[in-house]
């Protein structure tokens, strides 16, 4: 058995197994599902951001010859389904009954023969709205005269959702009081949207005779959805099958349950036919989970000679009209409290206030690792502001303050225990790859000529792989994941996992994990996912948790199989199991290497007639549930070079160097792909992406003409590098890579833009750094986007 670079047994640059079908256009997405007699649904959405519903007349729509049913909030109310619980223990309207609270909110659902007729019939529904005052700016949501959005909640008299804090306020205040230097800045991480290539949708097929529901849906968490549908729709869980076929990107957009899914289910129950609902691009951008929208007031304290002492931050978190974010229950601000970043601090404190606004619900999405994006942006901007205040080099300031390798496991001031890290090595590597000194020299020369070149650094530590069951749950479901490994008599294997790929390459990565542990080729391992009837329970893919949690489960279950194989081998070889030694793919007799059995031989024997020791059952199949002992903490050092056109304010990203450390690297091709994608995300967020609203609450980002995502022409050739610092508590030392680059790149780009604008005295520019906004900052009139 040979292992090569192209066809590794285990870890290595294996081409993605799933790409054969994707490249040939043979992927099967929810919208590809066609069932006999299937009907199509469409959602009528509110044109107002805040309005009372006076009346809804659906009679004309019902008379459309191709319409089968029209559902309104009143119809759902009769079934107890007008409202549903959110992942943050709030409630959300499925179809509005009392009033609408954001533009694009679901008001009615039409079911027709085809999607054209369903869409046409929406225009026949007559809704009488009485417009109400609107609040879209989170800073004004708590004003005394702000309209109360959630008057449906008992006794609710304001728009406050929660107040939450982490760290030690008093200790932080004390450090700030004695610090030589304090720098403060208010910054907005604007509202952006994951905008996956495939929008959200579902096909619901309710079988009234069996009382069973099959639901194909765009979900990153099929098992959690099954449980939620059981609880929400009061259907018995064993009668629900959730199938997530190929998913065209998720990025957190497909974690929650949207009203359209519930409507499709109700629609199928009501009509007795399968019902498909696929939202269009505008619906996706306007109504589904956005990301960020954090107004952050940060301060950093340091000694005059450049030792960072403390960081504190006050946040107003805009969650939109319903608190529907997905994050572990105990953490309403997600993992924002990892804002202490990669630095050795004496104290830190954050206070986060969540508010309702007349905007679409959401906040945790777009590869944010539960708000680590916001945290990293905050601290990395603050460090650059401090460098400017101290007139220090941003690289030197970081090098002097990074947590040293001998300090791990490191307990941060907000409670995290970072598992492992070697930050300085990563940063030095990035500086070396970039040629930092030469870049600074070039910058000085260009400035002499009036040219604007900027160099920006960003260092990040992520907290991913949620998480330990005793600390972390979503709606009471602990964040553990199972894996089930079946080994067939011929030694081929099938791995069932609970996490759900949306393009990350699970079918390859997870096969490689099993291959690494069992010593069989990855192509012999079929990875099954995305079907609750065929896979074990778990919480799904988001927050970079697949490899840290499910990857661990895959390794553990493969080791259980290996252990079982040892027992079977001992029976086959008639020696004690203790006398057997493992080499990749084979147990052999210690001291007599010729005497041995491969996994394939053992598998056949395990299903055959070999007499097994008492109490040992036939077969090799095994299963496990992995409860992570801690999160994992990937990190990286990023460097960005930009050029700004002084006449137009146009920013061009000239170079981007990314050094990532995700611990053990399973498949470098997939890792690089994840990094490339995340860096492009970062360019998008930093330079162009924004879901904006006018003062009436009209969404100004409702199409890809308005909401810009970057193309190959806006991004440079990525220069990637890596270091490897394995996680000490993870079975294979892997830490996760899915969101690192999305988290780490925006601050590096903004730091570069601000650095370029130094001759203009610019301290800060809020994203997105569009030509207009950059130019206004150059004129001293920069302002946050609306």
């Amino acid at each position: 058995m040979s292992t090569t670079e192209e066809r590794p047994i285990g870890f290595g640059r294996l081409k993605r197994k799933e790409d054969a079908r994707f490249i040939r256009g043979q992927g099967r997405y929810v919208d590809d599902v066609q069932l006999p007699g299937m009907l199509h649904g469409a959602v009528l959405r509110s044109p107002y951001a805040h309005a009372r519903i006076v009346s809804i007349d659906v009679s004309a729509a019902q008379q459309h010859p191709k319409v089968h049913a029209v559902l309104t909030g009143r119809d759902l109310d009769g079934l107890g389904l007008a409202w549903m619980p959110t992942l943050s223990m709030d409630t959300q309207a499925v179809l509005a009954t009392d009033k609408v609270r954001f533009q694009g909110q679901e008001v009615a659902f039409v079911i027709a023969d085809d999607r054209y007729a369903a869409r046409d019939a929406l225009e026949l529904i007559d809704v009488d709205y009485e417009p109400l005052p609107v609040v879209v700016n989170a800073r004004r949501a708590l004003d005394a005269d702000a309209p109360v959005i959630r008057d449906d909640l008992e006794g609710k008299a304001d728009n406050r959702i929660f107040d939450w804090e982490a760290g030690d306020r008093a200790a932080t205040d004390a450090v700030f009081a004695r610090a030589d230097v304090v720098v403060s800045e208010e910054m907005l991480y604007p509202r952006v949207h994951p905008a996956p290539m495939e929008t959200c949708g579902a096909v619901a097929d309710y079988d009234a005779v069996e009382g069973s529901l099959t639901l194909w849906s765009t979900t990153q968490a099929p098992h959690a959805h099954r449980t939620l549908f059981a609880l929400v729709a009061r259907l018995p869980e064993q009668k629900i099958r959730v199938i997530a076929p190929d998913i065209g990107g998720g990025f957190g957009n497909k974690v929650g349950i949207y009203p359209g899914y519930v409507c499709a289910v109700v629609g199928s129950i009501v009509t007795g036919r399968p019902v498909k609902w696929m939202e269009d691009r505008s619906e996706n951008l306007m109504a589904t989970s956005f990301a960020r929208d954090y107004v952050m007031r940060g301060s950093i304290a340091a000694t005059r000679d450049g030792r960072i002492l403390a960081v504190r931050v006050d946040v107003i978190a805009d969650h939109g009209a319903f608190n529907a974010t997905a994050q572990p229950t105990k953490y309403p601000a997600g993992f924002f409290h990892v804002f202490t970043g990669s630095y050795e601090l004496e104290a830190a404190h954050c206070a986060v206030t969540g508010v309702y606004t007349n905007k679409a619900p959401g906040g945790v999405a777009y590869a944010c690792s539960f708000r680590v994006t916001e945290a990293v942006y905050l601290v990395e901007r603050m460090v650059d502001l401090l460098a400017r205040e101290l007139d220090a080099d941003p690289a030197q300031l970081r090098l002097a303050n990074l947590i040293r390798p001998d300090r791990f496991p490191y307990e941060a001031k907000t409670g995290w225990v970072y598992d492992s890290g070697d930050y300085e090595t990563a940063l030095r590597k990035a500086l070396e790859m970039a040629g930092y000194e030469q870049l600074r020299a070039e910058q000085a020369e260009r400035r002499e000529r009036g040219e604007l070149m900027g160099i920006g650094l960003g260092f990040f530590t992520e907290a991913v792989g949620a998480g330990p069951r005793k600390h972390m749950d979503i709606l009471g479901l602990g964040m553990a994941d199972a894996a089930e490994l079946r080994v067939h008599p011929t030694g081929k294997a099938q791995l069932g996992i609970s996490v759900q790929t949306q393009g990350q390459g699970h079918e390859t990565t997870f096969a490689q994990i099993v291959a690494q542990e069992l010593g069989i080729p990855p192509e012999d391992v079929e990875v099954v996912h995305g079907d609750t009837d065929r896979t074990p329970f778990g919480l799904g893919t988001y927050g970079s948790r697949s490899t840290p949690v499910s990857g661990a489960a895959a390794a553990v279950v493969a080791r259980k199989v290996r252990d079982k194989a040892r027992v079977v081998a001992s029976a086959m070889l008639e020696v004690s199991a203790d006398d057997l030694e493992w080499e990749r793919g084979r147990w052999f007799v210690r001291g007599d290497p010729d005497q041995g059995a491969t996994i394939q031989e053992i598998a056949m024997a395990a299903h055959g007639t070999v007499e097994l020791p008492k109490g040992v059952e036939a077969g090799l199949d095994s299963e496990t549930v992995y409860d992570p002992p801690n999160l994992t903490f990937p990190f990286g050092a990023y460097l960005c070079v930009v050029d700004v056109d002084p006449g137009t304010g146009k920013v061009t990203v000239r170079r981007f160097v990314a050094v990532d450390d995700c611990g053990t690297r399973i498949n470098p091709i997939i890792i690089e792909g994840q990094v490339h994608g995340g860096l492009a995300d970062g360019v998008g967020m930093a330079l162009m992406e924004l879901i904006a609203f006018d003062e009436d609450g009209n969404c100004l980002g409702g199409s890809l003409m308005d909401y810009l995502i970057p193309t190959a022409l806006e991004v440079p050739d990525w220069e990637t590098g890596f270091t490897v610092t394995p996680s000490p508590h993870h079975p294979i030392g892997a830490k996760g890579i899915g969101e690192s680059a999305t988290v780490g790149s925006p601050p590096a780009i903004v730091n570069a833009v601000v650095d370029a604008l130094r001759p203009y005295g610019v301290r800060h520019v809020d994203m997105p750094c569009t030509p207009s906004r950059v130019w206004e900052a150059m004129q001293g009139r920069g302002a946050p986007p609306q």
Binding site: D31, R115, Y116, R119, D120, M278, D280, R281, S282, G647, T648, G649, K650, L687, M688, L690, A692, L700, G701, S703, M705, D706, L708, P710, T711, L713, E714, T770, P771, S772, R773, W775, E776
Partner: protein
């Protein structure tokens, strides 16, 4: 998937048939000349024509760029891609390649046509500014014959042109002369986005002086051409001062609005900046006889 309302589809295989269909089907019929503006508008339900008359079969007959009688002649169904690739245009009116490089993306450029773009008359559309800057004339054909109009007459305002019912654009004509140079400058938030602001310029140099200048701005609420700026340059020797003066006049006569692409203030600033840049490049090209 965004779905348009119901419409009837017709396919015209000759200009005469297209005009006949337009006359018969009336004002609720629209020509489909590439469809990369019209179809998205239909899917967004911003447009709901009852009939589409697909004139794609005319792409051969009306797809050309040639020099004839001292003019460049471009067929109305010439695709963006063909304008971008045309050696003749590159040599004689480089402004087209400048603009086409930053119009939409290859997929759109492969289908979209110059006639479709001009008739769409989007206020941020690039080819309208290009054609205005080079003093183009547009040939409009009706069942009773054709007429030729200059751009200020053709382009009547946002989404409004001189093309009447049962008429269609068949050709665009650009006067050629020695000492001609042209250029297009655009700021966009992202490649393929509509312009935040854009400026097209052309100059005809005669004995070291600017005999005639053409200036047209896009996306900033300017006139079809910036007539005051053009007049200010006529008869002057090219200089930074002259360009700055022209830019000032062009900006003075535009009225941009605040939107997601930028503030009105920024657009004014950048319209001036781009006007200067376009004039500089156009002049340099004219002096090198590079069109």
């Amino acid at each position: 998937m965004q779905v348009p309302p119901q419409f009837e589809y017709e396919r015209a295989t000759s200009i005469e048939q297209a005009l006949e269909l337009l006359a018969r089907l009336g004002p609720e019929a629209r020509l489909l000349a590439g469809g990369h503006s019209l179809l998205p508008m239909m899917k967004l339900r911003l447009a709901a024509p009852e009939h589409l008359i697909d004139i794609d079969p005319l792409a051969d007959e009306l797809g050309y760029v040639r020099e004839q009688d001292g003019e460049l002649r471009i067929g109305a169904m010439t695709r963006h891609r063909e304008l971008l690739d045309s050696e003749l245009l590159r040599r004689r009116a480089a402004i087209f390649a400048d603009a086409e490089r930053v119009i939409a993306d290859p997929v759109v450029r492969n289908r979209g046509t110059i006639g479709g773009a001009l008739c769409q008359a989007d206020p941020a559309e690039d080819l309208s500014a290009v054609c205005a800057a080079v003093g183009a004339r547009v040939v409009i054909r009706g069942r009773d014959g054709e007429r030729v109009v200059v751009m200020p007459e053709f382009h009547r305002g946002p989404y409004e042109t001189a093309v009447g019912e049962a008429e269609m654009v068949t050709e665009v004509r650009i006067p050629l002369s020695p000492g001609f140079g042209s250029a297009y400058e655009k700021v966009e938030r992202r490649v393929g986005d509509w312009a935040v602001a854009a400026a097209g310029a052309s100059v005809r140099m005669d004995d070291g002086e600017i005999a005639r200048a053409g200036i047209a701005l896009a996306a900033v609420g300017a006139g079809v051409t910036s007539a005051e700026a053009e007049a200010a340059l006529a008869g002057r020797r090219p200089s930074e001062e002259a360009f700055a003066e022209a830019a000032r006049l062009a900006v003075e006569h535009c009225s941009p609005v605040d939107d997601q692409r930028g503030s009105a203030e920024y657009k004014r600033h950048v319209a001036g900046e781009l006007t200067r840049r376009a004039l500089r490049r156009a002049t340099a090209r004219a002096l090198r006889e590079e069109g």
